[in-house]
Every structure is written in structure tokens, then in C-alpha cells.
Symmetry: D2
Subunit: 338 residues, 4 copies
């Protein structure tokens, strides 16, 4: 049983707290937030859990093994570093940090102290993404041709990050888990429509060392909500629509065939085939429940979690490169290797 | 009554021929194609129309006022120039030419001879695009924030052009008609998955001299067909789904509001409002019927058609720039002004 | 402030309890259920609320003004009658009772004691149904031609009632609130596929004294969930899809026109017109919050609630008649007037 | 090669004519219609085919083997009987006749003369219905629980028949081909909203000698078009949506399981299971092409066509019974056996 303290009871914190409370592998001990009003709400809901406005109370507590951080991104590094130095394992909400340099330092500190760093890439723990990952990595889809994602809705504008750090982070985390290869460069464009506000519409293109391309469209100004990913392979293709109530993942037995020797001026060199569509049943467990369970197991068993600090770092590197690219009107930025 | 000859009876030619045949303002005189088999099919359908494998017969015919060109793109310039020199008005299928330099020369030749050049940007003549244009240009939508289009399906691979010249040409033509401003630069990325074949997946970003951005996703390898455009404005927003059988255009009374003085660390600076949605009835006349009618009227009245050579040139310039950008991994290419 | 006790903490009870707890107009005092385990769960959530396995504790409590009944239908009458006799106002979950005779007796008892009987017809308090009611009753839709509802899904089989009493009750309650007229007869067909189980698929047709028809399809064996109502009027028509995340109510400016003097053997006597579609923004307040608030207000102000005992009785009468009709292979059963 | 003459070039006739013209198994010889204008249109399209306003020319022609009848329903019997007496095979559009007695007489006449009677139940020859039939008859779906169809749209009002004879005829023809059992009784309700016009909204319930039920909703006054059938079986369930562009048939591995010994007052006796969904690729050949091909083959090979006179008769019997039931407010009408 991993004893947990949670920092931050704002937008996402209550979900973390609820899952730590309900998970059989974790024991929720304390919650910290700067707002007394929010703590009062938390107390009404969890009277047996300690509440404090001073996060240091949690770092110093001897009955706490792990700290979960659900505060604004700008505070992730300092809080996580303090927690590691206090000998606590850490779960950090996505994105992991503001810079890749910060992420690297956290990874080193944790390695040095033999502590677990878990980046809470929620979508990786959904039944849908697990199924897609299985299809992509088992070769069922064949060679991956492209990954295309649209993640748009109206609002909610974030105060401290732009739409890329807010929304594309999900797609980058999913790609990191699903795709057999890692991107080598990124080009991004974005625009802000309100003075003093961050980019609210953006497009990212990821380049690979193979004939594959990935693209993400994120937008806080869309009149309709969409969460749809196309994943094209040489054998099969996937449409993943996270807003579909039941058939979130659809696998199409469709593709392209090469027509040898087509000579006609109007005729295509490349034909296509269409076959059945198949929507596998996917698990409906709340992703966060799986996520916190996996966090606790990793600590207990001393194993490397699926979304470890390295995964968090890879995602932050792309976000960082995307920010540089946006600032330079889409210039391609190479991703450093480690 | 404009007397017309059509060059090319391949993929799109039969649609042109049918509409010239049925249009009250045009009189279809002759059809030319290099394939005797295709001409035979045309003859069976239109026994009263002359058929020939030599396009020069049409250029020389004294009973023909205008030539419509529905041949592969690589032949557009030569055929259109020959037609103009023979004193014929020309309708050219999109894209107008292979290069902007070709387009410019055609415009000059036509101006010199006082002949009409009409670029057959079909979608501009649909009821849906006419309605959107009306909304955008009347100020109903407010300031335009972005234009985002997805145009994907499985196949059909083109022999002589890539997916940008095949599919994005439609979006660029629509934007040219709808948006109050013209783009100043373009960045594009694309990839080819088959040896010796053109790019089959591509992304274009268009930059403007105002806080507006446009983006087009075109793809010949999508398991599902999509034709969906988002157009965000400061007052209202539009979703245009060309595959919707009845409500192709949806206007959302939704947008963003600025919250002055929001101080909370989690609170948004920008809020949003949601209101009614409205799907105006749009005309269902076949776009090509409207298009050939407008062509004939422009000639008869001596007026400049909506999709004249300049419109065709503007679209070709962007296609050209996009090709350069793709070849250079997304480098931004400025669009020349005229 | 109305002080409330809730009987039943099974499927729907927790929702009632939560809303009474959160509503500004009500003060939740006690909850009763036969299961100690369920009460324990309730206690963990609401430590300040009294829990008891004996419902009589609530009837006898001097600090309770009103009793809410969320127990199986077969117990509604006895519990509601006991509550009224104890001088308490009552909120009864739908369907109100097992028979119309029971409903009539509750109404009489309440009238005699000047107590409020509120039947918790939840859907009547949704933003969508309020909007439709407004459209239908204001004449915007014109004369109502038909009301057609499909309410199907897989499971959940009920132990004590058939699919009509479980699902059609919602449609009957909505119709009671929306339609300007009341039905005069009902014909119903249904079938049970499992030994010892109730009807799991059923169809109801309601007849009126005017050229209007209503129909309800309810089904516990559908592979997909549907909650869709068509409401046709002479001026406008409504599609109400409760599963749509945002545009639940769509109003179509479509209808039929009579062509005078059409003589052709193939030509229609009746033409049709199509116009715009409009999806009004509808309130998103949880229906049960509105419902319990209206219950409390009715008691405080001494006014008749919208879904009073008479509304509950009208719905039970149709359910009762439908049961008779199903047992007699769809025989039309006239509805008694009061 | 079957030599064919077609009677009627109104709404559906042009489709028949086109398919007979293009089918490799048939040779279109002549077309008859009372309207000279319609014949002129036909002639322009098929200059090699004889046109006549006198249908007797076709019956007397020695170069015609078979007559196809696409005239109003009220003329089907007389024309078909005349054709049979002239020694011609007949294809009759659905519904076959106005009465079952007429259908019986045609069957007898054809049997006597050893001629083929083919009722053109188009939907039976679609790829979608062929696939569903295969699933239902092979036992893949298990026992059939219900068949539920919705076929609604705005207009087109028919001059000579009501909405049941116009639209439900399709569902009855599909059921006749798909379901392993035949109905034994029917109850129907319908209503007309326009003076002197036929029923425009109707509901049919079909009863069987087994625990199965079928239901059809047809409506000429729906603001939206729907063509959707649910087919529930004990093993799998089908949703057939004819308006879906690609996945018309969806097979759900979902169903119900009996929970033995469930004792809890709130617990269900019946649980359910959900599994994968599968959308088999279905043939996209135009149904009418398959239909006329099958007609020609049946004549050539002397075999009984799938939609023979008996199938047409079974459908007319149900339509006839439905009309009686509607006239008597839904009274159950038993279907005669043969």
C-alpha cells in the first residue's frame, strides 16, 4: 500500500484525489492547496484526509511515500525536485515540466535516489489507446504511414500555457506510447488572437527517419468539440474517435495496391482495396484509475513505469521544439537525441 | 448562346459535356479526346455532337466560340494558349496551369485579345460556399480567426500531380472566394509512401498579414472520407461538412469573451459563450451547372467572371509555393504579389 | 427551507439524495433503506445525515416536512399513503403507482390533508423538454401532426416492471407536459423473450380526438442506445435527440404544401417545402436539481407543481391501459376521463 | 438473351429501362407510356428502342419475351394478366397488385402457362440485405427476437396509395427474404392529415408463431430522412442503416445473459454482455442490375426466382391486412395461409 499526498486541488487534482482514495493500492493521507476554500471542499468530501495550505507538510510527513503533483506547470519542477529530495516518489501531471533541462534534472535526481518518477499521461491508460498500441506494435496495421490527430473545442483558455502545451501534450503522449518510432524533427505554426494571451490555434508536424509523418491540430476556438485520430498503416487503418460513446476505435481493412504497368493517361498508378470494418470492444475502466494503480505497482515492484520520466522528457522536448518553431513561423527544429 | 467545344472526355470531361449540353446558355458543338473508345461512348450519349481525336479541329472550327479544357494539368497551358490564339474564350479546369508563369502568360494573352479566361473552380459555385462567402464577407462572422479544412479519402491517386494539386486546390479556390484577405506566405509538409509516386499526405499552413491562419489537410490514404471545414470568426463560427446530405453549413453563435482582471491561478483569462446553432438552407443546383452558366454569361455580357484567370493564378501561386515548401521540409515560402 | 427524508438508496435514490443535499431550498435530514450496506455507503458520503433501516423513523420525525420515495414501484402506494397520513408532503418517483386507483386515492388523501403530491417526472425538467414544450404550446410548430419516440438500449432489465413501465413512462410524462391534447385511447404490443421475465420490447400507439397520433418504441434488447423523438407540426418539426452532446433539439422549418389541381397520374397531390434548421441553446442544469427545487417551491408557496398527482395519474392510466392492450394483442383500450 | 418491353416511363421506369439496356442478359426492345413527352425523353436517350403510347404494341410484338410493368399499382393486375395471356413473362414493380386475390390469379395464370412472374422487390437484391439474410439464415444471429424498421422522410406523397403501400412494402419484402418465419397476424395504425389524401404516418406490428415481433414505422412527414432497421438475435444483433455511405450493416456481438438466483430487490434477473462490432463489406452493385439479371436468368434457366409471385402475394396479403387494421383502429387481423 503506497501512502500518497496530493499537491493541488484545482482542475485535475480532485480526480487524482478521488482515484487515490478509491484505489486498492494506495492510501490517501493528505492534500495540499494554497486555497483554503478548495481545501474545505476537499475536507467535506474526505473528512479522514489531512488538509493543509503548506505543501511542505506533505514533504516532511513520515507517513507519506509518494507525492502527486497537480499544480500549474510552472511549479512542477520545484515541487517535484523538493519531493524527490525529501525521499518521496513522484507522480507529475502532464506536461512534466516547462523545459527539457528541468525534466532531465528530475530524472537524474530520481535515478540517484532510486525513486520513481511517473508522468501522468492519462490517455495512455485508456482502453482505446491500449488497444491501438497493441494493433500498431503487433504489426497488425503493417508499416505506419501517418498519425493525424484533431483535438479542438471551445475554451478553456489556460492561463500559463498555450494550446500546444495544453492539448497537443495528449497526442504526443499517445504517439510516444503507440508509434514504433520516435520523431526526429518538428515544425509548428500557431497564432494568438487575444492580446496578452497564448496561442489558441496551432498545428504541429512531426518528421521521422522513415516514410512516416505525424500531425496534430489543436484549437481552443472551435465551435464544436472533436477528438479524432487517423492512423494509417500499410495493412489496416484506424479511426479513433474519443467522443464516440461506444465504438471509439474502428479498424478498417483498407489500403492501397500498386497497379503495375498502368499506361493510360487518366489511369491511376495506385489502386485501393476496401474491406470490413471492425470495432473492438475496449476497456471502460477510468484511465486515471489504471494510471494511479500502475504508479503504485511500479513503486511496490521497483519496476519502470510505462510513462516514466523519460517518456515525460520526450514529450517536453517536442513541446519545447514546437514553441521554438512557432516563434520562427514554422521553421523545422531538430529534436535532440539522448 | 455560346457555342462550345470540349477538350478531354476522361474523368471530369463527361460532367462538363453534360452541363454544356443541358445549359440554356451554351450550345455544345464538338468534343475531342485522344481515345477513340472514349469518343465512342460520348457519341452514343450525344449523337448530335461532333467527335474528333484531333483537338485542332475544334480550334479551327468557325462555329465554336469557346473551348473548355478538361485534360491533364500538364497540357492546360499549351491547349489554352492555342485556343486563345485561335480567338476562342477558354474555360480551364483547376488547377489552371503547372506554373504561375504559365498562368500569367495566359492572362496577358487573353487581355491582349479581349477574350475571357475562366478557371473552373467548381466548389465556388456550390450553394454551400456561396452561403459561407456571404456570411464571411457581410461581417456576420466578425473578424475571421482561422480557416481549417480536412479533405481526405482513400485514393484516387493521380498520375501527374500530388495530393496538394489534386485536393488542396479545392480549398485554396474556396478560400480565395470566401476570405476577405489573401495569404502572404505558405508552409507545407508532405510525404510519399510509394516509390515513384507523388506526395499522398500533405499539410499546408497559410499565413496572412493579420491575426488569421489557414490550414489544409489533404490525404489519399484515409480509411474514411472527410470533407470538413471550420471557419472561426469573432462573432460566429461555421462548420461546413460537404458530406452532410442536408445540413452542409452550420453556423454557431459561439465565441470567446475576455474576462478582465481574472486573478486566480487556475482561472482562465478568456471565457466563452455558447448560443444557438443555425443551418441555413443552401441551394442544391449542381455547381457545374451554375459554373458553366456563369462562364457563358461572362462572355455574353463581357464581364469579368468570379473565377477569372487572376483567381486561377492566385491558387497556382500557392500550389507552387507549397511544392517548394514541401521539398524543403516546411520552410516558409513568401507569396509574390502582383 | 423544506426538510426532507428519502426512502430508498438503490438505483435512483443516490441522485435524489445528492440533489436534496445540494439544493438551496431543501435540507436533507434522513435516509432510509432496507440494506445496511447501502446505508453505510450513504453515511460515508453524508456523515451529517441520519441513516435508518426503518422507514417509519422518517415518517415519525418531527424535523421532516417531506418524504421522497425512490423504492420499487410496488411499494410506492403504501409508503406514500403512510407519509401523507403522517402529515408529510411527498415526492414519488415515476411511475407514481402500480394502478390508477392507487394514484387516485393518493390524490384524494393529499387534497384532504392539503399536502403536496409531486411526481418526479425528471425529463419534464430538462432544458430540452422545456424548450420543446415552449415551441409546441406557443403555436410555433403549428398543429401537431404526430409525436414519435424511440427509447431503446441494451438492458437494464427491471425486476418488477416491464419495459413499458420502465422506459415508456418517460415519453408519456414528456407528452403530458408538451402536447396540447391528452390521448383518448391506447393500443400496445409487446413481447417477452425470457421465461418469467417481463416484456422487453414494446410498441405503444396513442390516439387523440384530433388528427394527431403518438407512438413509442421501447426496447431493452437493442444493440445501440437511442433516445430520439420526432415531433411533426404543420409549421415546423422537431427532432429531439437526448444523446446529442450539444444540439439536443433541432427545429426544422419544413413541411408540406397542398398542390391544387394536380392532374398527372404520377404527380403528387401534396408537395413539400424545406427551409433552415435551427438548434436553440437549451439549459444544461441537471434536471433533478430543477425538479427538487420546483418541489420545494411548490410546498413553500402552496402552489400546484407542474408534475402533480394528476400528471402522475394520467401517465399511470396510460401505462395501465397499455398493459391491458398488450395482454390482448394490441386491442385498443379507451382511456377513462376524470 | 431475354428480349424485354417496358410499360411505364414515369418515376421508376427510367431506372428499369436503363438496367435492361445495360444488362448483358437482356435486350431492351420497346418502351410504352401514355405520355408522348416522356417517350420523347426516352427516345433521346435510347434512339434504338421502339417507343409507343399503346402498350398493346408490346404485348403483340413477336420479338419480346418479357414485359416489365412500372405503371401505377392500380393497373398492375390488368397489364400483367394481359401480358401473361399474350404469352409473356412478367416483371412487376412492388407492390405486386392491389389485392391478394389479384396476386393469386396472376400466379395461377402464370403457372398454367409455365411463365415466370417476378416481383421486383428491389431491396432484396442489395448487398446489405443479402448480407443480413445470410447472417439471419445461417444461424449466426441465433434466434431472432425482433425486427424493427424506421423508413421516414419528407414527401413524396403518392397519389394512389398510402404510406404503408408506398414505403412499408420495402420492409415487408426484406423481412420476407430475411426472416426464417412468416408472420401470422398484423396490427396497424395510421393517420391522414390532409383531406382527401391517404395515410401519411403509419405503424405496423407483425405477430409470429414464435417469440418474435416485427414492427415498421413509415412516415411521409418526417423532417429528416431515416432508413434504419434493428434486427435482434439471441447471439448477435444487426443495425442496418441504408443511409450510411459505407458501413450500412453493423453486427454487434451483444446480447443478454440470465443471472440465476439474483435475489436483490434492485438487482436485475437479466444481465447483458457487450463485445466487438463488425461492419462487413457489402456489395455495391446497383440492386436493380442484380434484380433484372436474376429475372433474366430465372427465365432462361426455368427456375423459380427469389422474389416470385408467391413472395409478392405474401407481401400484398400483409399490406391488405394492414389496411383493414388501420381502418379498424389497430384491430389484429390474422393473415390467411395458403
Amino acid at each position: 500500500m503506497i501512502r500518497v499526498g496530493v499537491l493541488g486541488y484545482g482542475y485535475w487534482g480532485p480526480n487524482l484525489v478521488r482515484n487515490f482514495w478509491e484505489s486498492p493500492g494506495t492510501d490517501l493521507k493528505a492534500v495540499s492547496d494554497m486555497s483554503a476554500a478548495r481545501l474545505e471542499a476537499a475536507h467535506a468530501r474526505y473528512p479522514a484526509v489531512r488538509m493543509t495550505t503548506d505543501y511542505r507538510d506533505l514533504l516532511e510527513a513520515s507517513d507519506i511515500d509518494a507525492i502527486a503533483i497537480a499544480t500549474p506547470v510552472s511549479t512542477h519542477f520545484d515541487l517535484a525536485m523538493a519531493a524527490l529530495r525529501a525521499g518521496k516518489h513522484v507522480l507529475i501531471e502532464k506536461p512534466m515540466c516547462e523545459t527539457s533541462e528541468q525534466a532531465e534534472r528530475l530524472i537524474e535526481e530520481a535515478a540517484h535516489r532510486r525513486l520513481t518518477v511517473f508522468v501522468e499521461h492519462t490517455f495512455v491508460y485508456t482502453g482505446a489507446v491500449r488497444k491501438i498500441s497493441e494493433l500498431a506494435r503487433s504489426g497488425t496495421l503493417g508499416d505506419i504511414y501517418y498519425y493525424d490527430s484533431v483535438r479542438v473545442n471551445l475554451g478553456l483558455f489556460q492561463r500559463d500555457v498555450n494550446v500546444v502545451w495544453d492539448l497537443a501534450v495528449h497526442d504526443l503522449a499517445i504517439m510516444d506510447a503507440v508509434l514504433p518510432q520516435k520523431p526526429v524533427a518538428v515544425s509548428a505554426s500557431g497564432i494568438s488572437h487575444f492580446p496578452g494571451s497564448h496561442e489558441d490555434v496551432a498545428y504541429l508536424t512531426l518528421f521521422f527517419d522513415s516514410p512516416m509523418i505525424a500531425h496534430v491540430h489543436v484549437n481552443w476556438l472551435s465551435p464544436v468539440k472533436m477528438r479524432r485520430t487517423l492512423l494509417g498503416g500499410s495493412r489496416q487503418m484506424v479511426v479513433y474517435d474519443d467522443l464516440e460513446p461506444s465504438e471509439k476505435v474502428r479498424v478498417y481493412d483498407r489500403g492501397v495496391t500498386l497497379n503495375e504497368g498502368a499506361e493510360d493517361v487518366y489511369q491511376m498508378l495506385v489502386g485501393y482495396r476496401t474491406g470490413d470494418m471492425w470495432a473492438p470492444q475496449v476497456g471502460v475502466t477510468e484511465a486515471l484509475a489504471t494510471s494511479v494503480g500502475h504508479f503504485a505497482e511500479s513503486i511496490s515492484a521497483g519496476t519502470v513505469p510505462e510513462t516514466d520520466g523519460e517518456a515525460g522528457l520526450r514529450v517536453v522536448r517536442i513541446l519545447e521544439a514546437a514553441s521554438h518553431s512557432i516563434a520562427d513561423r514554422g521553421r523545422v527544429v531538430d529534436l535532440a537525441r539522448r
